[in-house]
């Protein structure tokens, strides 16, 4: 199986790759269109800000490529946010795969940093992961709970901790940094 971690010049591709290594997967880290099109599974990781990340994807013509992907794609943190219509961060038009907006978090301390519990788990990503397990979050923007939500979490207000639609998956937390539960989620994604 070929897993491609999409590189977009904002770091942390290595962390995702190291986590996949623990699952016995040796991913390709690339922003090359042919590599991306030949992948069985794709991961769009996330450190960066929405504006510079979208600009990079556009410069490499990856925005169109990602929209047309038919195999499973997992967006992590910013990667999940980029799958939505629009982000308030840098006033950015995103990929539009999920008809929802990404908004600045308003309640509690922001950024929302640390381990938080995930609930209302739905779909194959959370197979064998129990309700209320802890995942690691580090973000200032979030997607409100909507019909795509595959998991939710609370930071005074409830937000989408994961979303899913067809072959597109997104998680607001960092499974690559969330210990054994995070690895289990990545394993579920790889096993789709």
């Amino acid at each position: 199986m070929k897993v491609v971690v999409i590189e977009y010049n904002a770091g942390n591709t290595c962390s995702v790759a190291f986590a996949l290594n623990r699952l016995g997967i040796d991913p390709v880290i690339s922003s090359d269109v042919d590599e991306i099109l030949s992948a069985d599974k794709l991961i769009l990781p996330g450190v960066g800000s929405a504006g510079s990340a979208m600009q990079y994807l556009k410069d490499k013509s990856l925005d169109k490529v990602i929209r047309d992907i038919k195999n499973p794609l997992l967006g992590i943190c910013l990667g999940m946010q980029l799958l939505c219509n629009y982000s308030e961060e840098d006033d950015t038009a995103c990929l539009g795969l999920f008809d929802t907006k990404v908004k600045k978090m308003q309640k509690g301390r922001v950024p929302h940093i640390g381990w938080n519990q995930v609930y209302d788990l739905k779909g194959p990503l959370f197979d064998k992961i129990s309700e209320g397990r802890y995942m690691y979050f580090v973000h200032s923007y979030s997607v409100q709970v909507n019909s795509f939500a595959a998991a939710v979490s609370d930071h005074i207000e409830t937000f989408s901790a994961a979303i899913q639609k067809n072959n597109f998956y997104g998680v607001q937390f960092h499974p690559e940094k969330s210990g054994d539960d995070g690895l289990a989620l990545l394993n579920n994604f790889i096993s789709l």
């Binding site: 904002a10 770091g11 942390n12 591709t13 290595c14 962390s15 190291f18 986590a19 290594n21 623990r22 450190v47 960066g48 800000s49 510079s52 910013l78 961060e89 509690g108 301390r109 922001v110 950024p111 929302h112 940093i113 640390g114 381990w115 938080n116 519990q117 802890y134 690691y136 979050f137 580090v138 973000h139 200032s140 609370d154 930071h155 005074i156 960092h174 940094k177 969330s178 210990g179 054994d180 995070g182 690895l183």
Partner: protein, 252 residues
């Protein structure tokens, strides 16, 4: 349930080894960084902080592969600091597997660095480390590993740092560092009130009760310690069970 409070062991790294001193001096060898990082991950640490305290450029070259090696071996997030002066320094560390980067002296010398880093990597990635020392009836910012006074007021600098885009404050009391007689509670409380980003308290942890004090409502979101974990004076697993039993929400 609210967000959990975090317990963060800190690894000061010099010449490839973890070291620890008192009030920033008298450094002692505490072992291998990767081994310690793995041990703390297994014991239930929520995050790690790794600080490069080497002085020479030559030694710094060895730091990146070390960070890569830590990232390969641990499954929890970690922040890296020490000697980050530009976007490129930060980018290389993030690429090596760091999750957040912390800036200290370089940000005091050029506060615009905070904004540049936040624009490129997002505020959530940028930790402003502030070393505070009580002097002339106020807490003042010290730089260059606690050696140089700046006469900048800590509260003002924390507020300015947040405005510039820092996503978290790592607040160390130089007076308390290594003394093991408790965190600088008034300092932590004031900064915590001043900023809306999470505050990590550092300096002074000696026993479990000190963590309970500093993680109470209105104080810190996370507590950092080094020596007491390295020498086994406080066990992270026992500490978290203790906090959980007194209703401080932690990840068990």
């Amino acid at each position: 349930m609210p967000l959990t409070k975090r317990i963060i062991p800190c690894l000061d790294i010099k010449n490839g080894k973890v070291v620890k001193g008192t009030a920033f001096v008298n450094l002692k060898d505490m072992g291998d960084p990767v081994e310690l990082a793995c041990r703390y991950t297994q014991e239930g640490a929520d995050e790690l902080v790794l600080l490069d305290i080497t002085a020479t450029l030559e030694d710094r070259k060895a730091f990146l592969p070390l960070i890569r090696n830590v990232a390969k071996n641990v499954t929890i997030p970690f922040t890296v600091g020490g000697g980050i002066n530009c976007i490129e320094d930060a980018y290389l560390l993030l690429c090596a597997g760091a999750d957040k980067i912390s800036v200290n002296s370089a940000a005091v010398n050029d506060p615009g660095l905070i904004t540049e880093l936040a624009k490129r990597f997002g505020s959530q990635c940028v930790v402003l480390a502030i070393d505070a020392k009580w002097k002339d009836d106020s807490y003042q910012v010290y730089i260059n590993g606690g050696k140089k006074a700046t006469s900048i007021n800590v509260l003002e600098w924390a507020g300015q740092g947040e405005d510039k885009g820092a996503g978290e404050m790592l607040l160390t009391s130089i007076d308390q560092d290594g003394a093991r007689n408790g965190f600088a509670l008034s300092l932590i409380k004031e900064v915590s009130k001043k900023v809306n980003v999470p505050v990590i308290a550092s300096g002074g942890a000696g026993k479990a009760e000190h963590f309970a004090e500093v993680l109470a409502d209105g104080y810190a979101d996370a507590a950092l310690a080094a020596g007491i974990f390295h020498v086994g004076l406080v066990d992270i697993k026992e500490l978290k069970n203790y906090l959980n039993n007194i209703n401080i929400h932690v990840r068990i």
